[in-house]
């Protein structure tokens, strides 16, 4: 059981769907959505929210800074 629970919020309209966050995630939380945003990009979203540990790797590698990361101690 992970000590920390995390969550990310993606600004889906600004996401360009480059997929760098998908490969940077150590717990494979993020996937590109089937849907597209207003610009036609498959935006990133949390496909597997339970696995997120809030490490902020995705936020660091995101070129458009659309990811906000939250983390709290697991109860």
């Amino acid at each position: 059981m992970a000590k920390f629970k995390g969550a990310i919020v993606v600004d889906t309209e600004k996401c360009k769907g480059c997929g760098l966050c998908v490969v940077s995630c150590p717990t494979k939380v993020i996937e590109l959505a089937r849907d597209v945003n207003g610009k036609g990009y498959h935006y990133a979203h949390m496909a597997n929210p339970d696995a997120c540990i809030g490490c902020s790797s995705c936020g660091l590698v995101c070129p458009d800074t659309v990811i906000t990361v939250y983390r709290m101690k697991a109860s």
């Binding site: 995390g6 360009k16 480059c18 490969v23 940077s24 660091l60 590698v61 995101c62 070129p63 990361v69």
Partner: protein
């Protein structure tokens, strides 16, 4: 507790560990998906926020994709003629020695047309920071061959791969400037993983600290990607960079005095 209520509990202001810094403006970046420029802009912005030097920083933007950097970082900016950013930064830092002056240049700007300016600025040891983004290609103009293009690399103007017999060899600018006595800190970084971004931020912090202590020129080369120019996806181009760029442009600090 259901999954949605649990997520709602986590997503609150006191649990926020990473988000957009206030130094970055809300404008949407014009860069292609996965462009390294975005990561480097962010790293510089976060360091400026950490060091609390937003009011004292002046950037000089180049000609190239990053010409519009002044739309993204909330600091003072100037825009230089092609390759002349170090000359403009020299004037700025001499007139306002208390400011943190940096240039942000690509490889077409710095290594090709601005080669003389950067060499002489490094030789004079001006008190500035130089960010040199090396992606081995002219990104903005359509992926032509740059001085840093690798041997055999296919670009718009070298469709059969770069032939070093006729076009010379890829230039190792960081190695060249590290030999000049004016430079104090020369390093080569990358920005493809979270670890690399953290290392880059450390280097940026050190470079601005050198400026504060009036130590001389700090030169940070960042090996980056140009997925549009390389005709690959962002994830593929990161792999290509690790496989081909890193052996020729090895990462690490070349000079730290």
């Amino acid at each position: 507790m259901t999954a949605t209520t649990e997520l709602k509990n986590i997503i609150s202001e006191e649990n926020k560990v990473y988000g957009k810094t206030s130094v970055l403006l809300d404008n949407e970046m014009h860069y292609c998906p996965g462009c390294t420029h975005g990561v480097i802009h962010k790293a510089i912005a976060e360091v400026i926020e950490d060091m609390d030097i937003q009011e004292e920083t002046i950037g000089v933007s180049p000609v190239g994709c990053s010409v519009l950097a002044y739309n993204y970082l909330d600091i003072d900016w100037q825009q230089a003629a092609h390759g002349r950013a170090p000359a403009l930064a020299t004037a700025t830092t001499r007139l306002m020695p208390e400011k943190y002056v940096f240039t942000y240049q690509g490889d077409g700007d710095l290594a090709s047309i601005g080669c003389a300016e950067i060499m002489h600025a490094c030789n004079r040891g001006e008190n500035i920071v130089v960010f040199f983004v090396n992606n081995g290609i002219y990104g903005m103009t359509g992926g032509q061959m740059a001085p840093t293009t690798l041997e055999g690399q296919v670009t718009a103007t070298s469709p059969y791969g770069r032939d070093c017999q006729t076009t010379g060899f890829p230039m190792k600018i960081s190695e060249m400037v590290s030999l000049l006595p004016g430079t104090r800190y020369v390093t080569r970084e990358s920005a493809e993983t979270a670890g690399a971004v953290r290392k880059l931020k450390k280097a940026v912090k050190k470079a601005f600290a050198n400026t504060r202590e009036n130590k001389g020129l700090s030169f940070i080369e960042i090996v980056g990607t140009c997925s549009s120019g390389w005709k690959q996806t962002p994830v593929q181009s990161n792999e290509w960079m690790k496989e081909h760029m890193f052996p020729y442009y090895p990462l690490g600090t070349l000079k730290d005095e």
